[in-house]
Every structure is written in C-alpha cells, then in structure tokens.
C-alpha cells in the first residue's frame, strides 16, 4: 500500500485549508507603530466614539483598546505580561488592587498633564499612577418595596443588622466580586481590624444572602432592578454602586420620572480607579499623550454615562441624572491602599470561612 501518497494528499489538503484561513485576515496584527497607542483595560471600559476620535485627531495617534477581562483579571494579566506588555497604558486598577500592581512594578513614572487639577481626596503619593475616576460601592434599596411595607430604608451599616431588615440584603462573594470586596473593606474601615468579624457574624445571623457575582445579585436577587423585577426577586437590599439608580433610569424604556431604587448613604465604600504608563511600553510618547487625555475635561465629563463613575478633576460636570438619582456619598468609608494590601488576602480568607462555611 502506498501510504505516502495518502499522507501527502491529506497534508496538502490541510495546508490549503490553513493558508486559506490565514490569508483572509492577518491584516492588523502587525507591530505597534509609533502612531498607534494601545490602551489595556478591563471590560467595563467605555468611551463615546466622538470623544476618542477627537483625541485621535488632535494627537495624531490611533488608539487601540484591549479589554482584558474583568477588573481583577485585567490587572493580573498585565502583571503576568509586564516584561512584554500588550499595550502602552493600563487603565482600571482600583484602590483595592493598586498595591499588587505597584509591588510588581507594573508602571513607570509619569506625571500626567492636568494632575494638579485632580481633587485633593483622590491623589496618591508618587507618580506611578494617575487617578482617573471614582465611584462608591453602596447598599441600594428598592423604593417600592419599602413604601409597600411601610418601612424606612436602612441608612447605615448598623441598620443592616437590625431585626427590621432581617433576610433583606443580598451581597456578593468578597473573594470573587469587586463590590463584594468593597463592602467587606467598608465594614472593616467602619468597625476596625478586629470589629468587622463580629459585624459579619451579626449580619449572617440577620440573614444576609451571598451570591458569587454582581450580575446575579443585582439582576436575579434584587427586587428593585429591572432584571430582578422580571425574575420576581425578593431581596429589596443589594450591594451595588451609587451610580446604579441613574442606570436604572437611563436604561429604562420608557424612562421613569424618578429612580426606582435609592442608595443607603451610610453604607458606602469609595473606589478609585487609576491609570498608568506600563513598564516596557513600546510607545511611551503616545502613552503619555493618552494619559494626559484621560484627565481632560472632555474625557472626564464623558465617563459618567459610559462607565457609570464620577470624574476626579475639579470642575468636571456630571450629567443631571447623576446629581438627581445617584449623588456621590457624603462621607464614604475609605482605606489606604497599603493597608488593603496588607490585609486583603487574610480578611477574605477569614470572611470566607466566617460567612460561607
């Protein structure tokens, strides 16, 4: 039997197929020219087309965006690839993960133009990262549910462990979800390094429900969201963002005259997102221009409706829906990134065995 011919035929066929696949496309995988600047971010990154086009026109750079998974994944992947990064600028490391990025030498120094316009509360030491946006992780409540039950919605961490609010709250797994972690850190900031465990014991006794992710908590378990209403959800309290009520208005059809949900102002933890110039970036000049752009008023004012976050530079306007339905928390809990770095893993571990087991 002449098996060689058979082999030749099959391999030949294979090569034809492969080359057919190859030729149809390998257009833009080429090297990053100095006229292209690549932004690596998480998959919540969003910007209005016109605003980005405006930057491209003014600066002469073409912006390529690489959304690399959720916030945690994107940071981890950036650290893994830091010797040969996938882009020039990274946007989207928040205060809960900042130290992981800094300790691993993810960024190189650059002070963005306009850094002096950043509001004092958001600034960080050093020039490795630039604060870009902020948001608050807060308990949201279902207005209709509370008026139906003639009950005042909770306003503080303390309220949540009161019998009146038994079995009402759903939160996220602190080890897998960024609002879940934020809520845990908020409680730790409020009750101290030792007190938070006691708080969570009481919260557990008061029937807090924990699900893995924000999507499930908000869309499936929370009775105030559009998804939750369809799913006939029965938890009127959820750990979400201060900007969730505006989203409920903006993404509703027809638009309601007022937000169906509200924010418990005393249950907030402040999240700040940073951007930085990646170590070993190929296009540092373009990267610097892009970082400058992130602090322009044009971009800062464009962020709220795209990413549901608040600007950090002075004088940037926020849309009316935000001021009306989802103002920033007046006195949110905060925590120093260094302290978060020190305790995060331990706390999450003890939280897991305390609440989930």
């Amino acid at each position: 039997m002449n098996n060689k011919k058979l082999f030749a035929a099959v391999v030949g066929l294979g090569l034809v197929t492969l080359s057919a696949c190859g030729s149809s496309s390998s257009s833009d995988s080429g090297s990053t020219g100095s006229k292209t600047v690549t932004l690596v971010s998480h998959d919540s990154w969003a910007v209005s087309k016109g605003v980005l086009a405006d930057f491209e026109k003014k600066s002469g750079y073409k912006v390529k965006v690489l959304e690399d998974g959720d916030a945690g994944q994107a940071v981890n992947k950036a650290i893994l690839t830091k010797d040969n990064p996938q882009g020039d600028v990274f946007f989207g490391v928040d205060n809960t993960l900042l130290s992981r990025a800094l300790d691993n030498g993810l960024f190189q120094s650059y002070e963005a133009k306009g850094a002096d316009t950043i509001q004092a509360g958001y600034r960080v030491d050093g020039d490795k990262v630039t604060p870009v946006d902020t948001g608050d992780i807060c308990v949201n409540y279902d207005k209709a549910w509370f008026s139906r039950h003639k009950l005042q919605p909770p306003t503080s961490y303390d309220d949540l462990i009161k019998p009146a609010y038994k079995n009402l709250l759903v939160t996220e797994n602190a080890s897998t979800s960024s609002p879940g972690l934020g809520f845990l850190l908020g409680s730790a900031a409020k009750y101290g390094d030792d007190g938070w465990q006691d708080y969570w014991k009481k919260l557990k006794a008061n029937g807090v429900k924990v699900v893995d992710g924000w999507e499930q908590a908000y869309n499936e378990e929370f009775s105030g969201s559009a998804g939750g209403k369809k799913a006939k959800a029965d938890r009127p309290l959820v750990v979400s963002y201060a900007s969730s009520p505006p989203a409920e208005v903006i993404y509703a059809d027809p638009k309601p005259s007022t937000a169906p949900t509200g924010v418990a102002d005393g249950t907030c933890f402040r999240q700040i997102e940073y951007a930085g110039l990646l170590s070993n970036a190929k296009n540092t000049k373009g990267g610097k221009a892009l970082l400058d752009f992130l602090l322009t008023k044009e971009f800062q004012q464009d962020m709220p409706l795209n990413m549901f976050v608040y600007p950090v530079v002075q004088g940037a306007q926020v849309p009316a829906e935000f001021t009306k339905y989802g103002p920033q928390a007046k006195d949110p809990e905060t925590m120093d990134p260094a302290k978060i770095a020190e305790h995060r893993d331990d706390w999450v571990k003890s939280w897991t065995s305390l609440v989930l087991k």
Partner: protein, 545 residues
C-alpha cells in the same frame, strides 16, 4: 506494510502533534512553571501543602461525586432518547434533534440565567409547587443533564442508528429473548460509543465551571472554579498550578481508563445507512417510550430555553431586539448585532482547523497496527477538555508573546482556542465509526488495485461521511458557544455572541438585561439553524455515491 505504515502514521500525526504542542502543552506548561518554579528550583513541596488543606480536599470530593452523579443521571435520562432518535421515525425528528443539541452549545452564563428563572425563586417550579432548587446541588445536576443530553443522544445515537437491526433480529430468530438479543448483540456494539459519551459527560461535569458558579452559589466549588479563583481573583499562581496538575492527573486517569475500555470492546461492526434502520414506533410500549422521551425533552430542555425567549420579548415591539442594532458607544464599540457575524466567522475558522487536525489524528489512530504510544496520543488529544480555560488563556499570554508566534492580539487566537476544544469532539465522533470499518474492505480494495487515496474515498469516506458531518457540526456549535477561553482573548471591537451577552449582563438597567436575553435568543436560534442545516445536509447526501 508495517514500516511504511509507521511512517505514514507518523506523518498523519505530525500536524496534530505540532498543533497541540504549540497551542496547548507549551502554554499550560508555561503557566504551571510560573506558579511552581521560583528562581530555577521547583517548589514541589507546594503539592502536599495544598493537598493538606481541608478546603481543597472538600473541593476535590465535591468535584468527583457531583460528576459521577451527573454522568449517571445523564445516561439514565438520555439513553432512551438516544434509542428513540436512532430507531424511530416520527414527525419533527430533525428539528427536535437540532433542538436538543442547542443547550450543549449555549454559554453557561445564559443557561445559568435561564435555569434560575425555572428552578429559582419566582420560577415556574416555585409558582406551581413552591419548590426552589437554586443553591442546591439539584440545580447543578439538572443543568448538567440539560447541557449533556445531546452528548449521549449524538454520540450513542449516531452509532446506534447505523447498527444493522437485522443482527439483533437474527439473534431473536435463533431463539434469544428480546433482552438477551439486545444484551449480546447491540450492547457490545454500542459499548465504545456509550463509554465515549459517558467519558465526555464525566469530563464536562468534572470540569464544570459556569453552571456551578451561577447555580451553586458561593458554597459549591469544583476544581475548575477553584483554579479560576486562585488564578484570576486571588492571583495565587502556585496554588493554581498545583490544582491544575491535580486536575491533569485526574483527567489523565479517566482518559486512560477510557482507552482501556474502548480497546476491550473494539470490534468491527456492520454499519448500514441510518435511513434504513429507523421506522415508525409499533405497539403501545414503543409509543409510550417515544412520548416519555418527548416529555423529558420538553420539560428539561425546551422549557429553560422558552423562558429565555419569553424574557427577551419583555419590551413592546421587539424593543430589545431593535436596541441591538444601535451602537451606543458605551458597552460596545460596535452594535451588539455585529457579534453574530464575528461569531460565525470565528466558528467557521475554528471548525476548519478542528476538522483538519481532528480528522488527521483520527485517521492516524484508526490503524489496526497502532502501537501503545499511538493510543496514548488518543488520550492526549482529549486533555484540552480537562484543562481550565483560564489556565490556557493565561498560558497563551505568557507563551505566545514573541515573533513569529506573537499571537496575543491576533484574531486567529480565538479560533485556535476554540478548535482546541473542538478537536476532541471530531476525534471522538469519528474514531468509533472509523474503527468499526472492516479493515478487510480496505485490503480488498487495495488488492483490486485502488490507491490509498481511492481506498479512503470509496471505502472509508462513504461510511464515515455521516460521522464527519456530525463532527464538523459539533465543532462548529461548540466554537459558537465557547466562552471560557474566548472571553480571555476576543478583542473588544470583535466580541462574539457569548462575550457580548456576558458584557450586557454585567450592566444594570432594563435595556441591557433585555438585550442580553435577546442576544441569547439569537444565539440559540443561530445554533439551532446551524444544527438543522446539518441534519438536512446529512439526509440529502445519503446514497450519493
């Protein structure tokens, strides 16, 4: 022929081996090395450390028993279905066969949502009987059956339909009871296919990720979920590496067991065209069986899908569907609807790669004189199914980062990753049928002067055409719904359907949620249509040669 045969086999295997070495073994080894190799010395002590943790042992135990129970449950529920689809003719059979396959290719994020609507709070079960199954292990098991029903129906049914019923009839003619005839004639013939199906179901449920995460809540965790958490959230690469190795060993053991079972059962079967084996059901018993199978399909498979459709129609005038055509510049750089085109292109490329690689591998593995190491290769090809997508995805990042293989941002990475998952399907579907081709037919053709190419075209191809199409269909559908690896590497301006759904679900607001449901429904319909076309294609070509 042995020496030439060996050379040919080596040649046939070269391409699949190279493919797996570069796009699977190397990336996975790189990420494991990153986790366990600090400054040139391997921290193998970590293995015992990690295994000593009660949490991890609990995860191992849960992973194993839920997979065993899921597999048993799936076989129990789906084998009657395989029989009905193989042997009975009934109206709407083609459509139904496509429908039962849809769940298999839907991304877990969609299925999880649909299942919650069914067995969760306020779901249908809750409304009718006040039964809630979410965050219980039952929800996980049911979803596993939902996903894997088609694996059994297709893998076992595909072969069953081609078994010559006259053999069983002959046995009965010779005095065997119906049961004895089935047990002595049909069961041994089906053995390899049942084993293959059971193995696949076990693999999928052992490595289950999305289902467990969404339906089980944070209290249930499989090995795969734990690897994901350690890699992606906690960034403890050394624990993740140890868990990856454990999963590797476990999956390898299962595959070895499977190879052994298949070898024992291997026999040349008399295959006939499927169209002559199916007939209308006869007698009350057969009608009842058909009705029972249809009822199971309706409740277990169609109902969750129906809930999805119902939710997608929540806005008047198909509002959610119309919204898909707008680019809001926010969640997406392009209108979500464009994800359909992307998905189809990626899936086609992935199918071409998978059929080529898998076909070559299957051809090499068919040879009778296959040695032990060739069989080992058979098992090796299945390994990608047992390795976490996050491991492969992170591995791609750190291994495929230099020319000529700096593919990290290339479009081809998506079909490559999808093909990795598709190849085992191609091999698994083709191999039982290829092996069942009587080798004497090939020898006879060769003796009569046919070239090997002609032997393949005139002997093998007509007999395996059906399996090849099923294989291609599976590879295509799996690629279409593949989520785990794709979400790591798909570019934002080219999201696939499942990636787009996940991103819509990740945002608050009615419109986003509705669009996610609408897009899921579209994905479901695209899959159903693709599978239906396949059914058609298959029948039309029957008897062409």
């Amino acid at each position: 022929m042995s020496r030439r045969g060996a050379a040919a086999r080596l040649g046939l295997m070269a391409v699949p081996v190279a493919f797996f070495a570069v796009f699977f073994a190397w990336p996975v080894a790189a990420i494991v090395k990153r986790g366990l190799d600090t400054d040139g010395s391997w921290q193998l002590g970590r293995i015992t450390d990690v295994l000593g943790q009660p949490d991890i042992r609990h995860v191992l135990w849960f992973t194993t028993w839920q997979a065993l129970v899921s597999t048993a449950l799936t076989l129990l529920i789906a084998l009657p279905g395989a029989y009905v689809f193989a042997r009975f003719d009934f109206p709407g059979k083609q459509i139904l066969r496509a429908v039962v396959t849809v769940p298999f290719v839907l991304p877990t994020v969609v299925v999880g949502t649909a299942f919650l609507a069914l067995v969760g709070r306020g779901g249908l079960l809750d409304e009718w009987w006040s039964v809630r199954l979410d965050t219980t292990v039952w929800a996980i098991l049911l979803a596993h059956v939902f996903f894997n029903y088609a694996v059994v129906v297709r893998t076992v049914g595909g072969l069953w339909a081609q078994l010559d019923p006259r053999q069983e009839e002959a046995a009965r003619m010779l005095g065997a009871s119906r049961l004895t005839a089935w047990r002595k004639v049909t069961l041994p013939a089906l053995g390899p296919a049942v084993a293959a199906a059971a193995l696949m179901v076990f693999l999928f449920t052992f490595t289950s990720f999305g289902v467990v995460q969404i339906l089980g809540g944070p209290t249930f965790s499989t090995l795969e979920v734990e690897i994901y958490r350690q890699t992606s959230e906690i960034f403890d690469l050394s624990t993740a590496a140890v868990l990856t190795i454990i999963q590797f060993v476990a999956v390898g053991a299962v595959l070895a067991l499977h190879a052994w079972t298949v070898r024992r059962r291997e026999s040349a079967l008399r295959l006939v065209d499927a169209s002559v084996t199916a007939r209308r059901p006869r007698g009350a018993g057969e009608w009842a069986l058909l009705a029972g199978v249809l009822a199971v399909v309706a409740v277990l498979l169609v109902l969750p899908l129906a809930v999805l459709v119902q939710r997608s129609l929540g806005a008047p005038d198909f509002g959610y569907y119309r919204a898909l055509t707008h680019s809001d510049g926010g969640v997406f750089l392009v209108a979500p609807i464009e994800a359909i085109g992307n998905s189809l292109e990626y899936a086609l490329a992935a199918t071409a790669i998978a059929v080529l690689i898998g076909g070559l591998a299957a051809a090499a593995l068919t040879r009778r004189d296959a040695g032990r190491w060739v069989r080992g290769f058979d098992a090796l090809l299945m390994l990608p199914l047992g390795v976490s997508a996050v491991t492969v995805g992170f591995g791609f990042l750190i291994s495929l980062d230099e020319p000529p293989l700096d593919l990290r941002q290339s479009w081809i990475l998506v079909p490559l990753a999808q093909a990795l998952v598709g190849v085992p399907f191609v091999v698994r579907t083709m191999l039982p049928v290829l092996r069942a081709v009587d080798h004497r037919l090939r020898e006879a053709a060769a003796v009569l002067g046919a070239s090997p190419w002609r032997v393949w075209r005139e002997v093998d191809l007509p007999m395996v055409r059906r399996a090849l199409l099923i294989a291609a269909g599976f590879a295509f559908a799996v690629s279409l719904g593949e989520f785990g690896a794709t979400v790591f590497i798909a570019r934002p301006d080219n999201p696939t359907l499942p990636v787009a759904v996940a991103r819509l679900l990740g945002r608050a607001g009615d419109l986003n949620y509705g669009q996610a449901m609408a897009l899921s429904t579209i994905l479901m319909i695209v899959c159903a249509v693709a599978l239906l076309v396949l059914e058609r294609l298959r029948t039309d070509r029957t008897g062409e040669f």
